[in-house]
Amino acid sequence: MKIKQISMFLENKPGRLSEPCRILANAGINIVTLSLADTQQFGILRLIVQEWEKAYHLLKDAGCVVNLTDVIATEVEDRPGGLAKVLDVIEEAGLNIEYMYAFTFRKYDRAVLVFRFNDPDAAIAALQARGINVIGPVELYGNS
């Protein structure tokens, strides 16, 4: 049920974000979603793509610093309170969120929340036990 996220180091300078995007575009790889964590000095780009293995190697071969991280995707209704409900459950389960980001599907009224937990397996078990819809690659990429 875990999703592979590609994380990439970016220097904070103009044009730096476009390079990985161009590499993926040239290879015909669609970015399902991305998030950028930035500090004053550098950024960390987080990408979700279906062909993560291919994307990882393409970026690595291009000299980018990348690694793969297991993240968890949960699906909620795209309406007020959707995120709050999941966060309540996470808090109740005593899970610590390293970071998260969200995106919505184009054709459906659903939103996907992507979470990075320290222990993804424990987090999946805890979330599922509390009725949260943890989705795997099939649902994620099938819907996008």
Binding site: S7, T39, F42, G63, C64, V65, Y99
Partner: protein
Amino acid sequence: MSEFWNDAGSPFHPVSAPDYLPEPQLRQLQLHRLKVVVRRAYDNVELFRTRMQERGLTPDDIRSLEDIRKLPFTVKTDLRDTYPFGLFASPMNEVVRLHASSGTTGKPIVVAYTQEDLKVWASVMVRAFAACGLDRGDIIQNAYGYGLFTGGLGAHYGAEALGATVIPISGGNTDRQIMIMKDFGTTAICCTPSYFLRIIERAKEMGVDLKSLPLKAGVFGAEPWTEEMRKRIEAETNIKAYDIYGLSEIIGPGVGNECAEQNGLHIFEDHFYPEIIDPETLEPLPDGQEGELVLTTLSKQAMPMIRYRTRDITMIYPETCPCGRTIRRIRRISRRSDDMFIIRGVNVYPSQIEEALLQVEGTAPHYLIVLTNDGTMDDAEVRVEITPEVFSDRVGEMETLRRKISAAIERIVNIRINVRLVEPNSLPRSEGKAKRVLDERRK
């Protein structure tokens, strides 16, 4: 009957005999040569003669080695001011070779050699290689740049005179360096330590395991480097990394070299007389005290250098070396007074930054110090390349790495210097001397 003299396992190479001269004999030889070279410079070099006369000195005033202290210093600007041939002591028809420095500002400096000078140069290079345990049968890949720079040809003729097989590959084209190293069975490489790091890095990318090759020694010089850098190089390869010292004003590479002890560089002082002075007061300092290295070429014909101020900060070890050589050692040069920069009143050397970086796990010794000025005060930023091993998708971990580097620098230089993490291979790689400082101060 063995083919080579060293098949018996003796570490002694006949050409290294002067390294082991009994001290009284060495001092006697030095004094004799000093008198000759001072006379030669006085008779043939106007700048030197004028300076002697201003001090009321003649060559006859040199009666002991201590009398060298009476002589005027020579500095780099003297070579620029007399560009190109003003300090030559031989007529041009006796000069068989010219070299010139890269010259970062303005005109280069030009140095000259007679046939005899080239013989001396090759002989000290042979002694340098022998001190690294190299001999006939070794395959030496010479990746110093060939051309006006003294490194390439200096190492080349020394390696040939040693009887080793020389691969005159010159610097650059790293992929080919690695291919040839592998295919030709290179046993020793000569280049700058920063370029060898590039070779290590590239070999990894190419999937070549340097540890599986016969490569056993590196003769690294032409730029200051640190003990930490040596440890890193030796940990990633099977080589012993030796430090070689030289400067073109004196002869080129081969002024001094480490022996198997790897603890200080033996100066071939039968040809190059070392002194340490206080760079402020210019007073000579005793062995064991740190100061600026001053060298006098005792046997140079075409271009004698009398008391040349090298700008290199070191000390002469007072103890004799366990290797048995009687020629004295200087501490390896990690600092050049030219490279020093001052941040908030504190003197900082690039080597100190390197030392700090190498203390932090997982950082590559690829760095650049950028000097800035906001209009009121000089400041510096250290740019450090991150490696895939230390990269984390978590901002907190990356910030922790940055703080660790910053703290390591602060421990060594006692001031806080901003650290910026940059992408691998984003800093310029050098095929010769590494550029460690970028000056972006408003002039």
